[in-house]
């Protein structure tokens, strides 16, 4: 009951939060670029379409780990400055893992 109430309070306190869904599949992300507004409140949700994948963007505080039927998400506030932030899969997923990348663009 308590976690439910906490979630409800969070949802009520951030009614304008946009949810960005990112699909992960060996060895790519879709979309491969996510554009955020400066200072925007956003929930980033990682959905895996095949096996376990990670999504890591340390400067944005994004560290997600998703498996099929077990998405992972985090709410963040985009930086106040514009910039481009590379993201990688940090859950080893096979031979093409090293090339599994995307980016966040803050405008």
């Amino acid at each position: 009951m308590i976690p439910f109430l906490v979630s409800l309070i969070v949802m009520m306190s951030t009614p304008d939060t946009r949810v960005v869904e990112i699909h992960a599949k060996r060895f790519s992300f879709s979309p491969d670029t996510v554009t955020l507004k400066r200072g925007e409140h956003v929930t980033v949700r990682l959905i895996s379409d095949d096996r376990a994948h990670g999504l890591l963007v340390k400067p944005l505080g994004i560290e997600l780990d998703a498996s099929p039927n077990a998405p992972d998400e985090i709410s963040i506030v985009a930086p106040a400055q514009a910039g481009t932030y590379p993201a990688i899969c940090d859950h080893y997923c096979g031979m093409g893992h090293g090339g599994m990348k995307m980016q966040f663009a803050v405008e």
Binding site: A52, G54, L56, K58, E63, D65, P86, I88, D90, H91, Y92, C93, G94, M95, G98
Partner: protein
């Protein structure tokens, strides 16, 4: 008790085990030397085992089974490293392998064959005490099952001549993480030791944020290092980054060994993580000798030599006689 307290007051950083590191490209040869008679007496009193000088070799990232342009020679560098180490006199007490022993395969049978090939080559080493931790290419796709079948536990600890060694697995979960259970195990293991016992941790990934966007980090590495912070002499040996690197944080010294398959570039010099190209004119270029040393307790001089100038067994013996660090 009185003598222990008195000893504790008189010991300082200079008394602790000195660690000399020769990064051979073929791995790293490390020599431990108790720096004072006071320290020997101290450990004899504390844990009944008086430290004495010894050396260890660290090998890393052999990637048995890898095939590609950065290294068309397969296991040749690994086999040469074995020959170099076998020619050392005296022989190292211990050989530590810090992960990515094999290159992964989607075919479990093929991956098992690569592990057997690795074991056959490593088995040619004269040094009999060999220890292993997995890299992500060994263990991340199957949670460490195949590694366990061939090499046993991926986390463990042991004592050797007054030094406590801890093997940590930061790959088998698939993520660059040690995990809460393993950290709790490590804390329990450490609790048996006084803060003056030298600690050597060996693992695959760096336990600090070396280059997170290249996956050169461990997400909970800071928790591991916080648990080690009270210990006055901590050495972390790791691989993964395919290049020599030395880093100091508090009382902890972190050393990466070179790979035995191909090298990655300096992340400070390039934005792209891409293997350095194979050089047919110098096929073992990355087996060139690098000697590193710095102020006590860990002395490191960084000297890079080419294979032609000084290489192989003869080169290593020259360096040792030269009293590196």
């Amino acid at each position: 008790v009185t003598s222990y307290i008195g000893m504790k007051r008189t010991l300082d950083r200079r008394d602790f085990m000195r660690l000399s590191a020769l990064s051979l490209g073929a791995g790293a040869l490390l020599r431990f030397s108790p720096a004072s008679a006071a320290l020997r007496d101290h450990f004899q009193h504390r844990n009944g085992e008086s430290p004495s000088p010894f050396s260890i070799v660290q090998l890393s990232d052999t990637h048995v089974g890898f095939s590609g342009p950065p290294d068309p020679l397969g296991t040749k560098a690994f086999e040469r490293a074995v020959d170099v180490i076998n020619a050392l006199d005296p022989q190292p007490d211990l050989v530590l392998f810090t992960g990515d022993l094999t290159h992964d395969s989607e075919d479990a049978g093929e991956h098992a064959r690569r592990m057997r090939t690795f074991r056959d080559i490593a088995g040619r080493l004269r040094a009999r005490k060999r220890f292993y931790v997995p890299g992500e290419h060994d263990a991340a796709l199957d949670g460490g099952a195949l590694f366990g079948e061939h090499f046993g536990e991926s986390r463990y600890s042991f004592d050797h001549r007054g030094v406590h060694f801890i093997a940590l697995d930061n790959v088998s979960s698939g993520r660059p993480a040690v995990g809460a259970a393993q950290i709790a195990w490590m804390k329990k293991d450490l609790a048996r030791y006084g803060h003056d016992v030298p600690i050597v941790v060996f693992t695959h990934r760096p336990l600090f944020d070396l280059k997170p966007e290249w996956e050169w980090f461990t997400t909970d590495g800071d928790q591991v290092m916080n648990a080690l912070a009270p210990y006055r002499s901590v050495t972390v040996l790791y691989g993964h980054i395919h290049r020599a690197h030395h880093h100091t944080n508090g009382s902890a010294q972190h050393h990466a060994a070179r790979s035995l398959i191909f090298a990655f570039p300096d992340p400070e010099a390039t934005a792209e993580k891409k293997a350095l190209p194979f050089d047919a004119a110098a096929p073992f270029r990355n087996l060139g000798v690098r000697v590193a040393s710095a102020p006590a307790p860990l002395s490191i001089n960084d000297v890079e030599l080419t294979v032609r100038e000084i290489g192989g067994t003869e080169g290593v013996q020259q360096l040792l006689k030269g009293g590196a660090a």
